[in-house]
Symmetry: none
Subunit: 209 residues, 4 copies
């Protein structure tokens, strides 16, 4: 097997190392946000990070690993926000909960659409096994929690395993938001209701046996 490692080379335990890794990640994010995939090369990132390329390769075995780390970090950030949001709406009615989660998703994505799109793009070309890694599954977990919290408002549990359902909800959210983010400057007013409709519809779909 020559499947390339995609995990960070070493868990940096010392403070300086951690700082270096963070600097690299931050630089990667900045580059991606400002120049999209065009400037996303290891030399550039190292330069922006104020570090030598050699150092970059000390912590990431290859470029893909860096991309994965970036994606993971972003998912982590999202997961934290999502978990908090899910907790905060655990007592609200389902629809209101969905509405607030949708609002959150839109806000997150529109904070830096170029960055989000670039990450998404990068994610797609990773070997398949890599996807749905730890932090991705945290997102799924948060949604599962949300479904749990509102179990009694859901007619019967839809087809598909709960995990599939959760993933579907995430995917739907991501495409719809991303599509609008690509186009304009800000989120169009119709986005939020459409998104809520898509999510609620999926969960509550009536006539579908």
């Amino acid at each position: 097997m020559d499947k390339p490692h995609l995990e960070a080379r070493k868990a940096p335990k010392q403070a300086r190392s951690q700082a270096t890794v963070q600097a690299i990640l931050t630089a990667g994010a900045r580059v991606l946000a400002q120049e999209s995939l065009a400037g996303f090369n290891t030399n550039r990132i190292a330069e922006v990070a104020g570090v030598s390329v050699g150092s970059l390769y000390q912590y990431f075995p290859n470029k893909a690993a860096l991309a994965v780390a970036l994606i993971d970090q972003e998912r982590e950030r999202l997961a934290v926000a999502l978990e908090a949001a899910v907790a905060s709406v655990s007592d609200a009615p389902l629809l209101e909960g969905l509405s607030r989660l949708a609002r959150l998703a839109i806000e997150q994505q529109f904070q830096d659409p170029v960055y989000a799109a670039a990450l998404d793009h990068e994610e797609r070309r990773l070997p398949l096994g890599t996807r749905l890694a730890s932090s991705e599954s945290r997102l799924v977990g948060a949604i599962l929690q949300f479904l749990e919290d509102h179990r009694d408002e859901l007619p019967t549990f839809p087809d598909g395993s709960p995990k599939e359902v959760a993933r579907d909800l995430l995917l739907i959210t991501r495409v719809l938001v991303e599509a609008d983010a690509h186009g304009g400057q800000g989120a169009p007013p119709s986005l939020h209701p459409r998104l809520v409709r898509a999510l609620a519809g999926y969960l509550l779909a009536p006539g579908v046996a």
Copy 2:
């Protein structure tokens, strides 16, 4: 403006030319299907097409233009199939119509998931104006026709312009199918009901004002 042309360079008039263009397109598709984006370079494609690189550039001003042509060709194929399907379900009840369209989408995508995913990926990095070009809008048009055909089964027209709605339906279909296509070999049995639920839910979503 030096925005690169993305249209074919010359309309091939002689029979030989047309054969060459087809050979190139076919080679492009084959390469994309078998090696995904990794082998998608002009030299390789020309080689597979049994043609010189020069010939490739005689008909496509650059690599992106070839990608666009491939995307267009695929969309065209899809559009034809979708239009036919929409016509064939014009008298069927909404839900059954959706179910059949969903079946079609799954079949299409699973015919060659790697190819479809690669094209999708490639499409994303084209300049935005290029997207939703002629054949893409044919897809939207077909969906609009479907909505028209079943207008009286739809409670009130959902938020967003009809075009937005149609695009949302397409996007939702694409992600859900693509996500499952990525993973396994064949479509999981739960895919079809989940997709129908997503589409029907979006269109019929009840309690959402």
Copy 3:
């Protein structure tokens, strides 16, 4: 010897052939004038000439031969003008003659500085033997005639063979005019007096034994 031929492949005797050759030459000139060396390639020229590349190669064995023909044609045009001018000043005093010739040179060059510069540039990379071909020597001949006509106004014949002298005068004229043509839009007012000074100085240089 594999010194490439640089002469036209065949002397076109039929009317249609001559027309084709002229069309090609004219196209070459137009391309060079409008796009400088950037668009100066055989395919482009043939296209502009409304002729197939194949036809171009019927009359010119290679690109260099076409360049030579263009240079020759331009020199021919210049030679005709120069011969006429020389004749018209044969009775005028030397200085006035020089002044009028200088005026002519400036006018010619500034008619189409891009074209002239491009030709000049192209000329330099031809194999050396090619230079000073027939029409170039007509230019030299015209100057020799001018010197002849004003022989008694020239102190003693300067060093160097008359041909060298004539060539020097041509070269000096070309650089000075070309240098100013490169820069601005029109000829600066100081160009003419400076040029006359250079030419007259060379011919009349006093204290130089």
Copy 4:
């Protein structure tokens, strides 16, 4: 504006880097001297320099920048020699000064006529702003100094700004010498007197008001 940068990419700080840069410049000069523009391509130059192409591009953003550096280096060399010569003849009579400067120019150009011609050729296709850059203007400056030093031997200052005059002298020198360098192996005996005559004539031109 996407006018291409023509300046060196990074100032090499380590000893190894400086050696590489010098190797590249030397290789560029050698290639130009031996094969003229025919072999002047980045791969060849890197090969001759015993360096990878990548290294070349580490220090020069593109091929033109390398050409500029070569031209600059050559001008620098010339400027140093010219400034010294001008200083050394500051007390000599004008004509003797000119004669010695002419001798210097001939020697310089005939040291490596192919190289000099190739550089000259290359210089012409650079964007115009680039020309007359620092080192070129040093040449002009040296001539201005010479004129200053012999101001009282010059009848009245000729037409045109002093800078134009200095440039004219440089241009005249360059063409005359280059023309003879192109042809033969060594400088013909008539070259030096003709050149002096041209320069002195321009400066002292008598009857030209």
